[in-house]
Symmetry: C2
């Protein structure tokens, strides 16, 4: 009981007494450590306690305990969220799924039965051990949890060909706001019995229930990928190349990094990327056999035609993985340049050029650095607004620019968030994006399923 904030002694004592079998963290350090996710939302509160359930039943007990006392609950996976969806609420209980990490793979039916605390890459490894593959690959695969991936309907690099998390979720066990646990869907590709409740909980960011078990569809491991890297001196030309590649091939990856991101990655890793390039595209093809080489050559030809400066093509999987790692490392690399406001705007691919050049104009107008990296093939970009948190004026300009980027995406027919979720940091832009009627529909469902409003209050709505 070191380091314990005196004013919460009584509620924590009550929690410990009421749920004796449950692992509870309640030192100030531990509570502080669970205040934020990676979005570092300045409005995050200090939780009263952090609980680490090991079973669905324990999650039910916590939800019933909190419900009876009107205590808000914030479910948390690995805390790697980029929209503040796992920011703690002052005096609430953080339900961390970090110790629910069981994975079972059925190689015969190609299904995975997963607890939410499992790290994405650990699921991938368990599947790979029997020749199977779980496609969704947010750049955070090394440290984000499957529970968080499901709660945000996470995307990633492979989505241009393989879709997003929801496309692989067949079943869920969910603890509802009243403490009831329900099994939705199951290990079947087809399910038409009743409303599509499984899919409703995917992407619900912990606001409708707490996911405690996940049934996922797996597919056979794809063949080794061929990789292309192309650099461009002109931003707009690179976006035209993205559109041409996306509409003429089935690239299994089509990523974009701008000059700031290239240099940030080089500063740390020294891959030997061209620091003068305005844009770099990284594409892969995983067609079987010779088809991969043919497809990647076709992608390279499109890039050359559209003005690429340097084009590298390789069938070497390890070299290809180096470039993918460079792309995966882009957000952490840019993060070293200052505090970030992380955008996640997506547009129809034909509007990618307008988005990227529009962001450059916002960057100029607001005099802040905005680095753009993108899952370009599906139109989903991550504009990273970099600022010095000690420079109040710059921080304010960054905030304005961050909002202007979302406004721009909306004007271009896009979304304010493609794969990170609304959480708390994008909430202010949701009404302007979806409009009053859709917002009311969200609210109607939230109110019906969580009438007391105790499940992740303040997230999304």
């Amino acid at each position: 009981m070191t380091n314990l904030d005196p004013e919460i002694v009584e509620p924590v004592d009550d929690l410990l007494r009421a749920l004796p079998g449950l692992k509870v963290l309640h030192s100030l350090d531990e509570r502080e450590a669970h205040r934020w996710d990676r979005a570092l939302d300045p409005n995050a509160g200090l939780p009263m306690a952090v609980v680490l359930p090991h079973t669905t039943e324990q999650v039910q007990q916590v939800v019933r305990y909190a419900g009876a006392r009107g205590i808000p609950i914030v479910p948390r996976g690995a805390g790697s969220g980029l929209s503040g969806g796992a920011s703690a609420v002052e005096g609430g209980i953080v339900v961390s799924m970090a110790e629910m990490t069981h994975v079972e793979i059925d190689p015969v039916t190609r299904m995975a039965f997963v607890e939410p605390g499992v790290i994405n890459v650990d699921l991938k490894a368990a599947a790979a051990a029997v020749g199977l593959w779980y496609p969704p690959d947010p750049a955070s695969i090394g440290f984000s949890s499957i529970g968080g991936n499901v709660a945000t309907n996470a995307g990633g690099l492979c989505c241009v060909k393989y879709g997003v998390t929801t496309d692989y979720v067949l079943g869920l066990t969910v603890v509802l706001a009243d403490g009831t646990a329900v099994d939705l869907g199951g290990p079947r590709l087809k399910e038409a019995a009743g409303l599509s409740l499984t899919k409703l909980f995917v992407g619900s960011e912990g606001t409708l229930g707490i996911i405690t078990r996940i049934v996922l569809r797996l597919v056979p491991q794809p063949p080794p990928s061929a990789t292309m890297v192309a650099t461009f001196a002109d931003l707009d030309a690179s976006c035209r190349a993205v559109l041409a590649v996306a509409s003429s091939t089935r690239a299994s990856m089509l990523e974009f990094m701008d000059n700031v991101a290239i240099n940030a990655v080089e500063d740390i890793h020294g891959y030997g990327l061209d620091r003068t390039a305005q844009a770099m595209l990284i594409a892969q093809s995983d067609q079987p056999g010779e088809a991969a080489t043919r497809e990647i050559e076709a992608i390279a030809a499109v890039c050359r035609d559209l003005g690429a400066e340097e084009v590298l093509v390789t069938a070497d999987v390890e070299l290809g993985e180096t470039y993918t790692a460079a792309r995966r490392g882009a957000i952490p690399a840019v993060e070293t340049k200052g505090r970030l406001l992380l955008g996640d705007v997506g547009v129809p691919v034909p509007e990618l050029g307008a988005l990227v050049t529009g962001i450059a104009a916002i960057s100029d107008a607001r005099d802040v650095i905005i680095s753009v990296i993108a899952h370009a093939g599906d139109g989903n970009t991550h504009p990273l607004v970099v600022f010095d948190p000690d420079d109040a004026d710059q921080a304010a300009r960054a905030e304005v620019a961050y909002g202007e980027v979302m406004d721009l995406a909306i004007r271009l027919g896009g979304t304010i968030t493609g794969e990170h979720g609304v959480g708390r940091t994008k909430k202010a832009w949701l009404p302007g994006y979806v409009g009053e009627d859709v917002l009311r529909l969200n609210r109607t469902i939230k109110d019906a399923l969580d009438p007391m409003g105790l499940l992740n209050p303040g997230a999304i709505l």
Copy 2:
């Protein structure tokens, strides 16, 4: 105004006066023609009128009109549903989407913008004209509508590799119970802004809203398929072959027909199928180039190893299509043998043998013919209980057998409906399948979105 039922003159006159621009059918013949879908639910009511809107605004007008007067509404696609989800309600309004048939394909972003009355095969043709493909392929592709496919989350033959309808739905326009029209999702592969409302409406069988526009993801046309047909003298051996194929290959189709179905198809089409076989499997591979031949040979080898009698392999697309057509024609062929109760039970693939042999036992015990055809690779079967509607005793035994098949599927860890939906004819089994808590969750959402209960009342719940 020929043939008009006098007691509805007044309400129909009111409808015609209130919505003068709307196409309304109200003769007794026309109303009778919209009483049933293909399930021929004996409890279907006679609607007061059938309206054929041409725009979302007209659908909104109808919903507001009905809402103000407490008149139930049944949305209807092509009326090809097999669970009575489009059965009319006595005195209600049938909203037929049959004349909302606009299709627009964007070959650059690989999206289709579709009105709900479009027939599946017409969408496929429009996509194919620009080298694209809409995978979902219920056996009814020739006459079922995309709106109905979305409303039931329809499956089909390709699902073993390509998933179900919901996997291709990116956006919807939906008219809600209060007449509000909302645009959900849109032409973007990634969307994480707010709850997954698009997916909630997929499979909701017209109980939460009326879908008036659909944004679908398309993919490039797959390469030509290689086909294998194998016959078995032993049911169980055929199911072991299904499991072995499904867990060792990426077949793009893996279908099953039993002896009754083979003979029913032969009676009509005379394809030359082996009338003595107890089971026939039809598999396809659509891997690029030589890979298709390699995969189909591997599938054939598995079937031979597991006791297939005759195995035919062909790279001839037309011949392959003949066998697929035989499979697609199976339900209509069996339908000529008597009235059908159409099952749609799905089990995990390892339980397929137990399901098929269990159904044979039910058939024996109840002394009714049950023909089984199946999308075997994904575990989804269609047991067709055949009976003479003029034989009351047989009809009663058929009804019992139909329920026992669903009970059996539940015991085997399966679902009561994989792709047809609950509609009205499977409603009695939903509580036993999903349980009280999940049923309540369905009801909570239905009540929140349709508090007056006027949208397709009696369907699902």
